[in-house]
Symmetry: C2
Subunit: 357 residues, 2 copies
């Protein structure tokens, strides 16, 4: 491995000058810079990330905490983040958040604290208060995406509005007997019971559903708790469809749950959308295949936005260190955590239609 000293020697300058020429920090004459860069190029020099990090305190690396990364939604967000980080020269290290308490503790108490990352983006629906506190104690920018509100600067879609939009689409078609399949939130992903109500995504979608139903004077809104999976959606729909008064429309809290609903309907020869309308949430990439009506929340774009926001937070931090020039209140680069809610959009396809009769 050729080192910076090799480059400096080849260019006939000191190591310090070589460093400045290559990094662009500090004043350097154009001639010297060119000479050093040529030498670096000729020698195939690449700066050691660890040495550079240790000396500068900048890791040029963002940590991303993800639960279940083989779920399309998270993979898509991840891809969005990576898309924006790479061109800025930042690496992305992945931290998988499982349900295993020991593993979680190790993640928050050790892995994230090893100084390997400049900031952390957390994509998780369920964190304990201790975990949020641990993130705060990192002394680095932390940004949530899709995390419960409170405790963490975060980017989020207005999930109450999402629930309302989905429900109003069905109401607008003339449905009255509408059921919502969502996640029961008496326990979180880690099995920790008793989270504050009304703060997380499933709960907010449900609130939006209930509010829309109430506003429309529709009969008691039916809610069925289920896992956020195809199987969860399937089983919940089966119960509904086999019940006394099956709904004419189902609002599933995710597209994958909606796929399960479609399967349950097919098994029972309940025709969609003639006998049953179905709407999901996410904008899953296979939604077109199923002709699924959904609320797209653009996960890839969410990832891109999160990456941009993180980069801005790091920039702010750097700027703050540089002096008082940039006043925080008016700075265009100020933390985007207080940004307007992320966009979502109703995509009407073939699984929703007016009820029969």
């Amino acid at each position: 491995m050729t080192s910076l000293d090799d480059v400096a020697r080849a260019a006939g300058v000191s190591t310090a000058t070589a460093s400045r020429a290559l990094s662009g920090r500090g004043r350097i004459s154009a001639a010297t810079r060119a000479r050093v860069r040529a030498a670096a190029e000729a020698l195939g020099y690449v700066a050691s990330a660890t040495a550079s990090s240790l000396a500068s305190g900048r890791a040029q690396n963002i940590g991303v905490v993800v639960p279940i990364m083989d779920r399309w939604f998270f993979a898509s967000v991840l891809d969005g983040i990576a898309t924006r980080l790479a061109p800025r020269g930042y690496d992305l290290t992945l931290y998988n958040l499982t349900d295993d308490p020991d593993q979680r503790r190790r993640l928050f108490d050790t892995s994230l604290r090893r100084g390997r990352v400049d900031g952390v983006i957390v994509l998780s629906v369920a964190l304990t208060d201790d975990e949020i506190a641990a993130l705060g104690g990192l002394g680095r920018p932390v940004l949530g995406l899709g995390v419960p509100r409170g405790g963490l600067p975060a980017l989020r879609v207005d999930d109450t509005a999402v629930g309302r939009a989905a429900t109003e689409h069905l109401l607008g078609l003339g449905h009255r007997r509408i059921a919502h399949i969502g996640q029961s939130v008496t326990t979180d992903a880690a099995g920790t019971p008793g989270r504050t109500p009304d703060v997380d995504i499933p709960t907010r979608r449900r609130r939006g559903f209930e509010a829309a139903m109430a506003d429309a004077g529709a009969p008691a809104a039916v809610f069925v708790p289920a896992d956020f999976t195809v199987a969860g959606g399937h089983d919940a729909a089966a119960r509904l469809l086999d019940g006394d008064e099956p709904p004419t429309a189902i609002f599933a809290a995710s597209d994958e749950m909606a796929y399960g609903v479609l399967t349950a309907a097919r098994e029972r020869d309940v025709h969609v959308p003639r006998d049953l309308s179905v709407i999901g949430v996410d904008g899953h990439d296979l939604g077109g295949l199923f002709e699924l009506t959904t609320i797209d929340q653009f996960p890839h774009a969410q990832g891109e936005r999160a990456a941009e926001a993180m980069l801005a937070m790091l920039g702010d931090q750097a700027a703050a260190g540089e002096g008082a020039a940039a006043s925080d209140a008016d700075s265009p680069r100020r933390t985007e955590a207080s940004e307007p809610a992320l966009p979502f959009s109703l995509v009407v396809r073939g699984t929703t239609a007016p009820p029969r009769g």
Copy 2:
């Protein structure tokens, strides 16, 4: 941030001793070790990864090169890798391989060479010779998974056997007019034309298909090139079904392509499996929803295996450095790159049946 010096001071030992006590390297009295660990615990000490890496040369970090991470298959492999790395204390940094030549060059010539990773796992179907050479020049273990053969130690399934197994399942049901939808390989993912034939996955699956057809004395095997996507499968199937002699069975080179085939069939009122049998490859998580018959290749397990193999390669390297005690030939930890092929398994569901009549 509390440093190792703080811990050493608190425990009343030298920094060197504190380091040994915490890392477990070198001989330490049990009493000293306990004292140091207690101090570290009390102070909430976590070693700086960058300092440790710089001093030891071990990054405790594996780089994973992935194309399109929001494709289920890759996300699943990635999850498998992460699953095995975390408990061993290794971080995982993600390198996204796009089709942009500049970005690719930067990845191989710079990012991967910054000394941030101890080894690299490459999940990609298409690398140029230059890129393979760059990986070789890293001076660190590199392991391919699903990469073309040659040039890189790699774990792989026997894709010729996969193609054969899928085809033989259809032949066994009595089909003779079978079409295969796969990827044309005159150009690779980067648009680089002219790769060596017979080395990559799509080509090998196709060879298996052709061999099985020939062995069975079946008429000229029909091959239709397409993208490895739902849309690709759909369009290719549309052409086949609208042709003069539509096949009675289609073997799609991926489950997502098979979904496209199913859609094309449905659009034409071609009933599956009565009028058309369909088989895919992968073991996609939504396969059950479509009742899709497939060749499962257990991507999550592939990721786990790849991680284990990489860890073994790193272990070997360390062992080699320790002396001649472990002879390479008999070592149980020797590189697993030459391991038996990865397993796959036929999963028969509802989309395949004997042809009519």
